[in-house]
Symmetry: C2
Subunit: 377 residues, 2 copies
Amino acid sequence: MSYFSFEVLHASKKSQARVGRIHTPHGIIDTPNFVAVGTNGTLKALDNVQVNKLGLQLMFCNTYHLLVHPGTDVIKSAGGLHTYINRPYPIITDSGGFQVFSLAYGTVKEELKSKGLNRHAEAVIKISEEGVLFRSYRDGSPILLTPESSIQAQKALGADIIIPFDELPPYHIDPKKLKQSLDRTHRWEERSLMEHRKDPQQQAIYAVVHGGIDKALRTLSCQVLSNLPFDGYAIGGSVGKNRQEMVEMLAHTVPQLPKNLPNHLLGIADLPSIDEIVKLGIDTFDSSYPTRSARHGSVFVSNGQQLKLLQTKYKDFHEPIERTCECYTCLNYTVSYIHHLYKAKELAGLTLATLHNVHFMVQLMKNYQEAILNDEL
Amino acid sequence: MSYFSFEVLHASKKSQARVGRIHTPHGIIDTPNFVAVGTNGTLKALDNVQVNKLGLQLMFCNTYHLLVHPGTDVIKSAGGLHTYINRPYPIITDSGGFQVFSLAYGTVKEELKSKGLNRHAEAVIKISEEGVLFRSYRDGSPILLTPESSIQAQKALGADIIIPFDELPPYHIDPKKLKQSLDRTHRWEERSLMEHRKDPQQQAIYAVVHGGIDKALRTLSCQVLSNLPFDGYAIGGSVGKNRQEMVEMLAHTVPQLPKNLPNHLLGIADLPSIDEIVKLGIDTFDSSYPTRSARHGSVFVSNGQQLKLLQTKYKDFHEPIERTCECYTCLNYTVSYIHHLYKAKELAGLTLATLHNVHFMVQLMKNYQEAILNDEL
């Protein structure tokens, strides 16, 4: 499989952190690295030419959203997702399962806030061994998502890395039901892998390790999935209700993954967590946190803090967000002006803040790679 | 006054159309030309580096909005509007009067739709010979706008071209009241001019000819204001309830303006009107129509039509908006993708459509200039 490979360049002497390089048909992903989320085929408030210039090496797109609109047939007829969205660099898509089950169960955060069942719960019509039947949030039409149809959708999209269909069980779940869910997820993942291998199309497929916060089940999941010829290993499902639980779970799980293959942590990239997960040996991780923070007026600065653009004290702060930052926003605009754009509800504010945060993440990960190469982390 | 000048390069043999060049401290404005509206110091959905690249030669900013936020003191402390918003090219600001009186009377369009008094009518506390006292829509604080304070605000902003304080009377107005309003506007404009001339600061000031749809009053306004040493002449107030009334009014008014000075038509730039106003000898004209149309999913194409991006037929139209267009959007994205961005409510769609429409206007005006130089218009 020459179109996809992974090499570990250096393992830190101080932690499990490692520097590596993933080779894909659309270029290299240096690891550890942040993966930005472009749900609908674009990072919110940016267009892809802007993103391409930022040096972001991997973008995460959501199959579920692209299935609902414009539909995978449209994207296939355009020549695939890379052409459709004008991104010549690596893309990863998920299976659609996460969104479908988020609709059914809500997110862990919603659960912990006791919001109960998500208001979209009625969107899921039926979950069976076959897969999940749900209603499109756009027009109410029924969509059947199975391991096979998810893979076929991801083949139509043509991302460099795809993900098998899995179930996202709720955080609060009866242990017996969690085991049943895990077993079914393993069967679904194997079906996904089989479907993929009929015609790999230069795509790599990552397994998704599940088991919630049950260590024995995480071990079982690593064992079952390691025996299957996946190209990499993602860690999914609930990894805990707080950072401490997450760290414990990852410290337990990561060492049980094949060391010669890349791993990916699904859905986590807040700044305090990055420090932890990189040290635990995570290669890539995705989250909409940096882009969502930007839209809420929160921009990252290099002391690990966030500057809240809407605060009145920034009204006449005629300096860039950071003097040393070389992003488009900092080279061209002051905090005072961006503050004004937010206050005046001008969309340009969202774009400028997002450009800064994504640039920040790209630079941050270069710094992490450097620190690991120097055994400083 | 070496910092501002106007030269007529060619007068068409077929119409009143003319090609000219306005020299300002921040560069040249070729005429006839479209002036895009950047109310809050930015074209909606774009940032100014993007606008600078589009070749837009003049941007219109609204003193009223900038007074309310961030305040002219903030912009002055940044070094003026050009620095604050990062636009090294010419800027024109209005007096704030238009917005204040729109609050009081509503727009002509609202009036014609019988919406009656605008819902913000209570924002205007008092209109007197002195000026207008109104409440900030942001925080309710009282703001007094007078000819002198409007000019001082525009001096703090530092645009290349400024506009005297005037009253915008409603379309349906008693002839006697219209005459009273006109007389007061003339007094306000003269006070504005006097205030400006105390310290010109390399700014040019355009008079605003009023008189509504009363030809005699338009003639009077041209006479009164032509006798004052303004640097250019804008045409403001109601110029009619439809295109025919507007054409009649401009055909009557434009010939009465000083021919050696630039003129400007306030607030009109829909495509069908441009053809008419250019032939009547208008040099510059502003409108938010091209940018607002873009945000509503309407993009301009060279046959004079508009392509409605939200129409389902564009779902799988894998071509740029126009094959021959060389804008950022057409060089990088297809209609299908932009359609998808609109359907998915991604802000990037608004940005891409706006970039196209502004580029279209810049090219359109180059074509008009060329046609006039060749006596084809």
